[in-house]
Amino acid sequence: MGPFLAVMRRDLMLAWRGRTDVLVTLAFFVIVVCLFPFGVGPETNQLREIAPGVLWVAALLSTLLSLNRLFAQDHADGTLEQLLLSPEPTALWVAAKVLAHWIVTGLPLVIVAPGLALLFDLQQDALGVLVLSLALGSPILALLGAVGAALTLGLRGGGVLLALLILPLYVPVLIFGAGAVDAYLGGTGADAQLLLLGGGLLGALAGAPFACAAALRIAIE
């Protein structure tokens, strides 16, 4: 567990020293969410209807936007190479980096989301389901995105490419995440969606760090 904690501590500290970067992601999330009423009109019923989808799509886009920061800095200053050369298992410290990244970029979205949902007049008792779905779903986004970020490391136009690679893979998370809130509001209960999200999270935890480690080795060698 030593290297895991060490890498996580380092990444969290680096994020803390560059706080504004983190706030930019959060600000992006807030602004995207606030754009939708201008696009579809201020009709309350309609806003209430689209709220879960809007929040989820915005969370997905801000995750995507933050992903290139996951490895880019370490790649530029050579830390990544040193980490790859180290005897520690790659998947372990990759998982640590992704977890730190999620704490910095994903967790704030989960915390802010209920406040934004109130702007859309989402029922207050559905807020818990929304938070839970984001808390389970956004780590999956970070884990899958890490694979894409590793594959596009250092490429020209990497950001757009990353979107093309990763967004189709995000669709199931979006479906179950937004679906959880919709199902709760529809009265069928969100258990099924939340369980599937939890299962997806466990599956991503088991698989993504290894895929990401392989992708990093491909990118660096």
């Binding site: 694979v147 894409g148 594959l151 596009t152 490429l155 020209r156 136009g157 990497g158 490419l161 093309l164 690679l165 967004l167 189709p168 893979l169 669709v171 199931p172 479906i175 179950f176 679906g179 919709d182 199902a183 997806g200 698989g207 895929a211 392989a214 992708a215 491909i218 990118a219 060698e221």
Partner: protein
Amino acid sequence: MMTDKLPRPNQPKSLLRFSAPQLFYPLAGRLAPWFASAAVVLAAVGLYIGFFVAPTDFQQGEVYRVIFIHVPAAWMSMFVYLVMAFWAAVGLVMNTRMSFMMAKALAPTGAMFCFVALWTGALWGKPTWGAYWVWDARLTSQLLLMFLYLGFMALTAAIEDPRRSDRAGALIALVGAVNVPIIYFSVKWWNTLHQGASVSLTNAPTMASTMLAGMLVMAFAAWAYTIAVTLWRVRSLILERERHTEWVGHELDLQEGRA
């Protein structure tokens, strides 16, 4: 010790020797025209059956005839992705250059079939469902499959170093292959939750045997076409990758001389 490993004349040669680009190049060149002619003949027969022999559908009229192109294209687009993922896995495990080149050569054809399936589906949907596009589970997963193809192609094109490009492409192809069933079932579930009773193709009335025959012949035509085009594409990939070798120089000299 070493002499044991050399192929003896009376020993049958392994098919695996074609994993060497130098040997696969002429083989692909010999096979491709056969598959191309098979594709032309089968397509001609299939289209004839489809447009002239098969009876008019009593519910859908003449519109249904688009299935002779639509269904084989949709089958092929999914199958090509599987083959691509297979070659990607073989390449990553066995470290063979030919496998990556095969995966790369297959992708544009798969994407093309995806697009054809979506396009013909839209043309069929307008008169039948009254809309070019509905968010039906099959249509949506087909669209996402096309994005997976485009992502693979964009990634391999963006990386200049061939070794990295091959491996990165193979990895994303495999990640995509793992996700395809997840995407399909999630989309299906989403669709049933949101849309209620949607148009179903599965409980369509049983098909006349000539319709089925036309569709199967067209499917074989799509197979032959895919193989032919892939072999041609892989030949240019081989030439490009191996351009620094002596045999490619020799091969190009020969082709120049013949021209």
